[in-house]
């Protein structure tokens, strides 16, 4: 299996601290890779470096074997879907307008957009009659489904999710987790998923990448992490989270 995204010695420093030390990572095609770790460990930074919301200080990012530079990034972004907490919907646009925004911008035909919209509603289990609502008129889970539709609209090769379910209550969260997993499987989607919740990571992750303090500590399956921890932090993190999940 070839890597869709490859980070080579990528690092990022802010004025006061290093957010990401020189890091190497491959995101495999068709798999869900989960980045997990405590707050401030650099997992969101890594995601944002891939879609170039921030520029790396050193190293390179390759997408499909192609070096990502600022020249080609705006075209590349159309091949990458990006979903954040709450969906990142624009409040002045209806759900439909949010989903179609980019497709309109690049001049897709109305028919094509309409067909894709029906498909996405079905895929994300979003009621079509709510498409004309504004984000404030939707529930948190519905907003997240719209955010997902918007990210999937142009059938991206890569889907980046930054704690997409973080702001939802447990019941909604559980049902969305289930739906998301089905969607990823159905689309054979390459996904890079950021979360701080170990149970969620285990549920989604074909591969789990545990990060701490700007570094990748260990990469592997949950069994690897549990049974062959590379570092005391790995056990500490897993035990702490298990404690929370069990109580």
């Amino acid at each position: 299996m070839s890597a869709l995204v490859k980070l080579v010695d990528v690092s990022k420093r802010y004025a006061d601290a290093t957010a990401l030390h020189a890091t190497n990572l491959s995101v495999e095609r068709g798999k869900t890779t989960v980045l997990i770790g405590p707050s401030g460990c650099g997992k969101s930074t890594l995601l944002r470096l891939i879609i170039r919301l921030i520029e790396p200080d050193s190293g390179s990012v390759e997408f499909n074997g192609e070096l990502i530079t600022s020249d080609i990034i705006s075209n590349l972004r159309r091949r990458i879907g990006y979903v954040i907490q709450e969906g990142g919907l624009f409040p002045h646009l209806t759900a439909r307008a949010n989903v179609l925004l980019m497709a309109r911008h690049i001049g897709k035909s109305e028919d094509e957009m309409q067909n894709r919209l029906v498909e996405l509603c079905e895929l994300t289990r979003f009621p079509g009659n709510l498409l004309s609502r504004y984000p404030v008129e939707l529930s948190g889970g519905q907003r997240q489904r719209v955010g997902l539709m918007r990210a999937l609209m142009l059938s991206p090769e890569l889907l980046l999710l930054d704690e997409p379910l973080g702001a939802l209550d447990p019941l909604v969260r559980a049902s969305l987790q289930k739906d998301l997993k089905e969607i990823f499987a159905r689309l054979q989607q390459t996904v890079l998923f950021v979360t701080h919740d170990l149970a969620e990571a285990i549920y989604f992750g074909d591969e789990i990448v545990l990060m701490n303090d700007g570094r990748i500590v260990q990469k592997g399956s949950v069994t690897d992490l549990r049974e062959k921890p590379s570092d005391p932090f790995v056990s500490e993190f897993i035990n702490a989270q298990r404690g929370v999940t069990l109580t």
Partner: protein, 510 residues
């Protein structure tokens, strides 16, 4: 004549501004060369200073020219000496009434008395001609309540030396003039310590209620009679002669010049006092001016402009001033706000500049623009000042509206792959629309209020009745301007509230 002193009579605010203008006279005179060619078909523009007598003389001139078959318009109450003189030189007006003493002291800046021929020669060098005296001398005088003067036995200015406790209230112009208070006090050795500057019209009220005991006046002032005041004799002959004449551009048509010449020697002091009284009593300069023609056996009266017509004219001009300046503020302010929202030195510079402009008192801003080339005494000066004034709320609200957009949404727009222009137009500006519109609304309301000051530089609007009301100490006339201006501000507020519903995207209003 003391007419100049009256020019401050447009209220305390205007008095301060005009005084400033006067003090900048020399700078102004060197800067203001606006060559304006007057086509033959253009009407002759008569200017007048901001006090009753000048208004009346301006109306008389307009009527006299019309009667002579020359189209003429009267721009009332444009300000003080220096403003009128500049406007005459710049060609914004063709003629205005002036006084010989003022010409010597304030225009030619000559400290000794000049003969009439010397004045004529000196003015000729500026391309300005003058009529012979109209017939009355309106010199400065000091006045007191008659009862008080009799009680203290004061008849002349010299008698004031014996009463150092008297409180003196003087117009700002008289306080500053070369032939004003300071040399007068030296000449007479006056001991009074309590000397304050006060607006001319308000000064009469202060005199009546005893807040002050002595004030300056001019000898044809109708209020001397009305308020039962004693004119103190100028026993040392300190005050120069102030004979009324018309100044005009030498390039004016000979028909027009002859029309003005017909007024020479036709108005004595008694007659002028009577016309001034009529003007103040009826609040109608046109009808007072018409009395001049009736008594001269000329054809009778023009009806004055009806109130509704005047109100429409003021309001339209007011909207024109406020609306056009607002449009400029929006066109310039929003892009500046967009740049400012990005922060950095340039952003701070823009916000800093706009804030500083806002701290300049609006009147001072007007006064600062007048001496600049291209501006001068004109509507565009008023619009430029209002534009600068309206800038800050729009720039600031645009910048803060954009800065308030959450970073996560900005990043979502970037991550989607939208181009920078699309992000701005379709995402950021609509999201900031509420803030931007509220900035525009603030500017609009400020502009409606501030536009009343435009009348000070002859730009018209609802400030016109407010100024003449202050001049006449007539509250009704003030309200004729103030109430419509306040209503207009309310209407503008409502209009923008309604506009919110159209322009702010629905998703932001739920």
């Amino acid at each position: 004549m003391k007419l100049r002193c009256l020019s401050r009579s447009g209220g305390l605010v205007s008095a301060a501004g005009l005084r400033w203008l006067e003090s900048r006279r020399s700078l102004v005179a060197t800067l203001l060369f606006l060559p304006v060619a007057c086509a033959a078909a253009d009407p002759v523009i008569i200017g007048s200073k901001k006090f009753t007598e000048s208004y009346v003389l301006g109306e008389i001139a307009r009527r006299a020219l019309n009667d002579a078959g020359v189209a003429a318009e009267h721009r009332q109450g444009m300000g003080g000496t220096i403003i009128l003189w500049q406007a005459l030189q710049g060609g914004q007006i063709d003629a205005y009434p002036e006084y010989t003493g003022t010409i010597e002291q304030e225009i030619l800046r000559n400290s000794k008395q000049l003969s009439f021929q010397e004045i004529r020669d000196a003015l000729g060098k500026f391309g300005v001609g003058n009529t012979e005296p109209l017939g009355f001398n309106n010199t400065y005088a000091l006045v007191m309540r008659r009862s008080e003067a009799q009680r203290l036995g004061i008849r002349s200015i010299s008698d004031l030396r014996k009463h150092p406790e008297l409180k003196i209230g003087l117009t700002h112009e008289f306080l500053d003039r070369q032939d004003g208070w300071r040399p007068l006090r030296e000449r007479y050795g006056l001991p009074q310590q309590s000397v304050i500057g006060i607006d001319h019209a308000l000064g009469y009220a202060a005199l009546a209620n005893g807040s002050i005991d002595v004030k300056d006046a001019y000898s044809t002032d109708a209020k001397i009679e009305q308020n039962d005041l004693e004119v103190l004799e100028d026993d040392l002959q300190f005050f120069p002669k102030y004979e009324a004449v018309f100044l005009f551009r030498s390039s004016m048509s000979s028909d027009a010049i002859n029309g003005l010449r017909r007024l020479e020697g036709t108005l004595d002091e008694k007659r002028m006092i009577h016309l001034n009284m009529e003007a103040e009593r009826t609040k109608n300069y046109t009808s007072a001016a018409n009395l001049y023609f009736q008594n001269n056996g000329r054809s009778a009266s023009f009806a004055g402009e009806s109130f509704s017509h005047k109100l429409a004219r003021w309001t339209l001009r007011h909207l024109e001033l406020a609306g056009f300046s607002l449009l400029l503020s929006v066109i310039i302010g929003i892009p500046l706000g967009i740049v400012a929202s990005r922060g950095g030195l340039i952003g701070q510079g823009i916000l800093g500049f706009a804030s500083i402009v806002q701290t300049i008192p609006s009147l001072a801003l007007l006064a600062l623009l007048v001496p600049l080339p291209f501006f001068g005494i004109s509507v565009r000066t008023a619009i430029a000042a209002l534009f600068l004034y309206g800038l800050l709320p729009i720039v600031r609200n645009t910048a803060s509206g954009l800065q308030d957009i959450p970073r996560s949404l900005r990043e979502s727009a970037i991550a989607l792959g939208l181009s920078p222009a699309t992000r701005l137009w379709e995402i950021y500006l609509p999201m900031a629309s509420r803030s931007i519109l509220s900035g525009i609304k603030t500017s609009a309301v400020i502009n409606i209020g501030t536009a009343t000051l435009a009348a000070l530089i002859g730009a018209g609007g609802l400030g016109e009745p407010i100024l003449s009301g202050l001049n006449l100490n007539d509250h009704i006339t003030i309200l004729e301007g103030a109430i419509p201006a306040a209503l207009l501000a309310l209407l503008v507020q409502w209009f923008f509230d309604a506009l919110d519903r159209v322009l702010i995207p629905k998703g932001l209003r739920i």
